[in-house]
Amino acid sequence: MTEPNLTTSLGALQLANPVLTASGTCGFGLELTPFGDLNQLGGVILKGTTLTPRAGNPTPRLAETPAGVLNAIGLENPGIEGLCRDVLPRLTAFQCSFLANISGNTVEEYGELAARLEGEAVIAAIEVNVSCPNVKQGGIMFGTQAEALAEVTRTVKAHTTKPVIIKLTPNVTDIVALARAAAEAGADALSLINTLQGMAIDIRRRRPVLANIFGGLAGPAIKPVALRCVWQVHQALPEMPLLGGGGIMSGEDAIEFFLAGASAVSIGTATLVDPRAPWRILAEIEEFCRREGVRDLGELIGAAHRKEE
């Protein structure tokens, strides 16, 4: 039997296979090289980058929860200049797709970040993290307000020719309304989902575990919510390419996301628990396709929406 065809795409971004490492859970990719060959992955999404360097939040920045992990890293990163100067040159040695992940405090910052990356050939696409407080609007997250989200999307699009993927937050009443706002503003693809806002309390100290009080919940615990978001958005916007993720620990989890409508998947927490996870998951996807006679990944994408005969 011939090998299943796992090539896929997110808008103009062509991917050798559907497995990407999620932003903030794979460093700059380089940290994973002792554990596997980056060139075998569909892509690597770099740690979230801001205009100026950030030290991040005080520790504890992590708290484990049932089948999940809360993080409040606070976007520690070397800033866009540090990224371009120190990191990107080291990535040119690899053939896989690298995606930047950008975060701004204002709409303008998003534009600047996108513009700065325009000349960086190693960056294949830009994932836009909109789970950031909008400092000009009293700290309400960009990703929770359709108009602010559309403005960020338009601004990033205006400053880049690279495919733009808007990464939505699930902490909203109506994910479809926000997906639609991003789509209408020109997003090439959507990434679903970022973390759920949560917290944990240390009952001995009688204080929140995280120094930042709140954190983003990731890991298997959120998989049902992530799948529901992918399903709803695919249902409403069947033509919009989706990068699905949230709690994927195995190839079977990834298959659920394809069936719900994702064209590719991002692996986050799984890599923290097992640095070989992205490769293992890719192998398990292949194995599933072989076992079930799937010749092309496209047969699976959105297939659970089609009623049984």
Binding site: G24, T25, C26, G27, E31, L32, P34, F35, K47, A55, G56, P58, T59, P60, R61, L62, A63, E64, P66, A67, G68, V69, N71, I73, E76, G219, P220, M249, T269, T271, L272, V273, D274, P275, R276
Partner: protein, 259 residues
């Protein structure tokens, strides 16, 4: 970090030392071969297939038996992960990620070294004590614990011929008081020139303060909540450095211990 990876280790022996501490002997040549003093492993504390608890637990290499392809872990019973570990039996398999981190280094010139450990903080001191003994450097081991029952990992260091000074808070064994009190007396009198320490944060702070006071160089091993252990999550920050990758052992000069 040649050889760092995820390996299955086979439990050869599991000795519950008392109600608080346990010693695991594990066959895992891939790690034993490459590990250095002060490094650690991330242990999956759940059955295959289960997703709870999700994260691996960091545990120091208490003993590296390179020739036998074995390691030993000395750990304290705390929460979910160590409770699971506590129930493992010889013959069972553990998933280990390691060896990890930057361990203790032998400094270029040492005349007189002190080892300082508090409670389970003694665990990672044995391998560096072995090196000191091997090079026949004059060294002493100061260790403190709440009470006799919380004193752990002392004998194997004593067996190397290193003199041991014990303090317990309740005086149940050794001198009554904090380890740093007895350490201060010694530093004042003997002026050793290097220090290796591991233990709870308040102890480390006091130790670093003393070291600075006496102009001593040295290294301390820190703890921070970890998710990945390999530098990809940025969870384990200490003053802009990753404890899992640039540590857990830091030079006293470079370390920033906040409250």
């Amino acid at each position: 970090m040649a050889g760092t990876g995820v390996y299955n280790g086979k439990i050869l022996e599991h000795r519950h030392l008392n109600d608080y501490y346990s010693l695991l002997t594990i066959e895992v040549p891939e790690i034993a071969m490459y590990a250095k003093p002060g490094q650690f492993v991330m242990v999956a504390c759940r059955e295959q297939g289960s997703l709870d608890p999700l994260l691996r637990r960091p545990l120091s290499l208490h003993n590296i038996l390179a020739d036998d392809g074995q390691i030993q872990l000395l750990y304290q019973l705390r929460g979910k992960g160590t409770t699971w570990l506590w129930q493992r039996r010889p013959g069972e398999t553990l998933s280990l990620l390691g060896p990890l981190g930057r361990g203790f280094r032998l400094p270029p010139e040492v005349n007189k070294a002190v080892l300082v450990g508090g409670g389970i903080g003694n665990a990672p001191l044995l391998p560096i004590a072995q090196v000191l003994a091997q090079f026949e450097l004059e060294s002493r081991f100061f260790t403190g614990a709440r009470s006799e029952a919380h004193l752990v990992g002392v004998e194997p260091i004593a067996a190397l011929g290193i003199p041991v000074h014990i303090s317990t808070e309740d005086g149940s064994v050794g001198r009554q008081g904090l380890v740093t009190e007895e350490l201060a007396v010694y530093l004042e009198r003997e002026r050793p020139d290097y220090l290796y320490a591991c233990g709870p944060l308040p102890m480390l702070k006091a130790v670093v303060k003393l070291a600075r006071q006496y102009g001593m160089a040295g290294q301390v091993s820190l703890e921070e909540t970890m998710a990945c252990g390999i530098g990809i999550c940025l969870g384990c920050d200490c003053g802009g450095k990753k404890v899992c990758k640039e540590g857990p052992v830091f030079a006293i000069e470079e370390v920033v211990l906040n409250d």
